[in-house]
Structures are given as structure tokens and as C-alpha cells.
């Protein structure tokens, strides 16, 4: 959630869509980019994976945290040799910029059900992420079920506010994902924040790319910060730590997402995320701890 809100305050003109241009650009790029290819990793020696931080996934030059984590998790998953990230945690140490990167992994335990892998991501001589993940298979629902929550109530995607990328806010990263904000929460992009520490909306990848359980790791950090909807003097909210739990594989289609914050205290805030698939099933939960530097 490395979003930066620039002064002067973003206004409606900043997010004005120029009809055709963004769509056209995406169409040109769609043959060569995509989430899966832009997070690809290549084995490069014992426990090491080579990768590229691709341009376009950034927020004012720095790669989105969910994107970086998706790359790292893809490498850890290779090492784990199990299909799904059940729980992954990243500590964010330095911002990432486009260019070559390395993910180093260490398989800590191969158990009957899970494999746990520790790892790190380095680029340009800096440690970007320290990561810990446990991998398994979440394809088969099992055990008792009880859910004390409901998916967020959202108008249909076309009745929500599409978030289109700009060089500043919304950031370029928005060109890689398709976000539709709940109308009540969309004012954060136009200088009319709701006042509530909440952001809800739809998420999918561009060009109908299917979302697997690594895509969920992207989704949990893809929305504008809840703090932008509260009238707090917060210009950006760099992530200290993010943990995602993947509870099921998502059905194809849009994901319903809700992010809330309850505690802005001590210079930190947490942001809790819930991702539901189009069948009404919870597929991921997340919590991140972010810093709140003054704007």
C-alpha cells in the first residue's frame, strides 16, 4: 500500500479519463504484459530465482507492495512445490523499482500438509522484502463451515467508479488492474473523501486474465488506502508488514473486496482486507500494518 497522495489535493480533473487512450495503450501492451508474465520467476541456482520488477506496476515510481509480494510468493511457491499460498507475511524494507531482482528461498519444513518457506527479495543491492510463507492446497473445501460475515454490498461493476491511472494519483499501477470503487467510497480520488476508514470495490485483472491464489496476494494490496477516505493528515501509508491468508481458490470473475481500518494510533494503522469471489465465498483475508507519516 505504497500510495502517495500529492499536494495539491487530488481533484476530479486528475482522474479524468481520456476516452480511448488508456484502452488503446492496454490493447497494445496486452500481448506482452499480464500479471502472470509480469510476476514470472526463473530458477537460478539452489533456492535462488531470478525475476524482473516490471514497469507499470508502480505508484509514482515504486512498485506496488502486493505486486512485489506476488513475485516473491511465486518464487517461494516454486520452492515449496505446493500450489497455494495458505499464509504469507512480508516485511517491507525498501521500495522496489523496475529492473532485475532476485528471490532467495529456504525451505524450512516439508510436512504432510504444508511446506513452509522463508525468503527474501533483493534488487539493486538492497533488500526489498523479507518473506515467510506456508503453502498447501486450498482447492478442496473441508471441515465445518461457519461464516459470521457477508460479502460487501456493491452496485454492479459498471455502476461503480472505474479507477484509471495517471502519472500521480491514481497511480500508474491502476493500468494493470481493473478497480471499480463503491460510489460511496470513490470520493477519495476526487477530493471528496467519505470520512469513513473504508474502501470497497470490485477487482479483476486486465484483459480478463484469470486470478489464481497468487493473484489474491496482489488484490489484498491493490486498493487506495482507507486513510484517504478519512479526513486525516496522511499523504501516504507505507506498509511495514502485510499478512495474507488464502482460504480458497477464487471462481473466475470479479472479486468483491472490502478494506477497513479501526485503529489509527501511535503512528500506525492497520488495514484489514476481505476478498470474496463472485460465488459469495471468502477467498482471502489480509491485514497490514502501515506507517502514517504526516502529509
Amino acid at each position: 500500500m505504497l500510495w502517495r497522495r500529492f499536494r495539491p489535493e487530488p481533484t476530479a480533473t486528475v482522474v479524468r479519463r481520456e476516452p480511448g487512450s488508456a484502452t488503446k495503450l492496454r490493447r497494445v501492451l496486452s500481448t506482452v504484459v499480464g500479471f502472470a508474465s509480469d510476476t514470472a520467476v526463473r530458477a537460478d541456482g539452489e533456492g535462488r530465482y531470478a525475476t524482473q520488477i516490471r514497469p507499470g506496476w508502480d505508484v509514482v515510481g515504486n512498485a506496488n507492495g502486493g505486486y512485489l509480494l506476488s513475485v516473491a510468493v511465486r518464487a517461494l511457491r516454486e520452492a515449496a512445490e505446493r500450489p497455494d499460498p495458505v499464509t504469507v507475511t512480508a516485511h517491507y524494507l525498501s521500495p522496489g523499482r523496475p529492473g532485475p531482482a532476485t528471490v532467495t528461498t529456504e525451505v524450512v519444513k516439508r510436512g504432510r500438509t504444508f511446506t513452509t518457506v522463508a525468503g527474501s527479495m533483493d534488487a539493486a543491492g538492497k533488500r526489498l522484502l523479507q518473506v515467510l510463507g506456508t503453502f498447501g492446497d486450498v482447492s478442496t473445501p473441508m471441515g465445518p463451515e461457519r461464516v459470521e460475515a457477508a460479502p460487501p454490498d456493491l452496485p454492479p461493476p459498471d455502476a461503480c467508479s472505474a479507477v484509471e491511472p495517471t502519472d500521480t494519483f491514481p497511480p500508474p499501477f491502476m493500468g494493470r488492474v481493473d478497480l471499480r470503487l463503491h460510489p460511496d467510497d470513490a470520493g477519495l480520488a476526487s477530493g471528496a473523501p467519505s470520512g469513513e476508514l473504508r474502501v470497497r470495490g470490485w477487482f479483476r485483472l486486465r484483459d480478463s486474465e484469470l486470478i489464481d491464489t497468487i493473484g489474491l496476494v496482489l488484490a489484498v494490496d491493490a486498493f487506495p488506502p482507507t486513510a484517504f477516505n478519512a479526513r486525516l493528515p496522511v499523504a501516504w501509508t507505507p506498509t511495514v508488514e502485510l499478512t495474507a491468508h488464502v482460504r480458497a481458490r477464487p471462481a473466475p470473475g470479479w472479486l468483491r473486496c472490502a478494506f477497513t481500518t479501526r485503529f489509527v494510533t501511535g503512528g500506525f494503522l492497520e488495514e484489514d482486507g476481505e476478498i470474496w469471489d463472485d460465488t459469495g465465498r471468502l477467498v482471502a483475508q489480509s491485514r497490514q500494518l502501515a506507517l502514517i507519516p504526516r502529509g
Copy 2:
């Protein structure tokens, strides 16, 4: 949260307190045990710390997860050379039993504000925990404050239900901490669960030992599982992963604690914890992912 509920179902007779005996035992032990001393670590070479998993912190023989994590976090904190665990995550790999243990640490980054340390805990030739922590100083409140929640409403500690240890349920670990359950949530120990996925109560260490920010890491895993209050076929809920965020240093005195679960799905449940100090300040948040093997 490695609690095990034994068949036959626990009943009121299981938790019957034998007046005097537990208190007397505690008084005898209080000169030699305590949370700080029972989680002590000793530097033992480059990044290595020697420790002992002490008896009495167990749940039917296996050390409580918050206790194990507290030991590991104490070692990581030594390596970090910063006072408070801001965010710590552990993946639980094997149960721990009393005896010598080693915590191995690697300082990943020393920044201006935080130090991040990766680590692991081994005992008896097995990896018990893999840990990742970022350490800083949470003694000085700073930044904007906004709280969209309130501490749990609890009757005074003496009007709540004291949880006294037995060899099975409640487990021996309860002799090391002083837990007072909200009367509405206390039925889980007497075969009359509330039906709600919630456990609330007071927490303190025995013998008026002060709770520091490592003590909070113990508190977030000290309560009986929420699942025991729901009428689910769950005999125990082994933790896969636990993350704790420490938001402030607690004032001396009782801690108000609330644990809730919203999603029992796919063979997993999450348990969210909030710890508030006696001044009404949130001091820690936690979330753990636990397995729900059938009972």
C-alpha cells in the same frame, strides 16, 4: 492456541478449584518462576541464543504458542537492539516440550526507525517456529489518532470466571497466567458454550508481574479458542501462523482482551485478538490462522 479439548466433554467438575492448593503451589514457585525468567535467553555465539522451554507453560504437554513465541521474540529483540516488537509473525512447525532450545537470529535490516530480524527456534532436533519480526520503540504516541472500536465491556475481574489449571482442561498453562473470562463466554470450560465465536476476558501475569510488550505476545495466544464457544466439532485448533502488532506499551494492571472468529471455512479459522490496557488504550492486535481438525 494449541489447546486440546478432551473427550469426555469438559464439565464443571473438571475445572473445580481445590481451594488453597493452586495458590499454595504458586506461592512456592513464585520465587523461582515468572514470565520474564521463564522466557529468558542467553547469547550463545553469533546471532544464537540459548534458552529453556520451561515446564508449566503447556497445554497437555505441549508448550503454549504464545509462550514459545515470547521466548523467540525475546531473542530477536536482543539481536534487534530495539525495545519493542512492533510486528511479529510466527509459523508453527512442531510442538515444543520442556527442555533446552536454541533461537537463531539474522538481522535483516537496521533502519533509522526499525530493525527487522528473521529467526527460528529449534529444540530436540526439530524446528519449532520460524519467525519474522520488526522492532522499534512504541513508548511515545505520535501522529493522528482515530479509533473506531471500544474495549470489550467486561464485569470487574472478581465478577468474572477465574480459569484454574488442571492436567487436561483447562490446561496447566493456566497456572502461569491469571485469566478471568466474561461470564457470558465462560461456559466453554463447563460444557455450556455460548454458541458465539467469541471469548472475552481479563489477563494478567501471576504474582503481579508487570507486562511489557513481550508479555503482550503471550497475551494474544493465552485464551481458550473461540471455537470452543461455538458448537463446532473441533477438539483442538493448532496454530499455523500468528501475527501480533504491538501498538503501545501497556499501563500496569489488568488487560482487557477480546477474541473473535468470523470465518470457519476450508478447514481453517482465523482468530482476531484485541488487547486493551486498563487506561482504555489498544496495546496489541493479533490474528492467527488455525487448523480445525475434526474432534
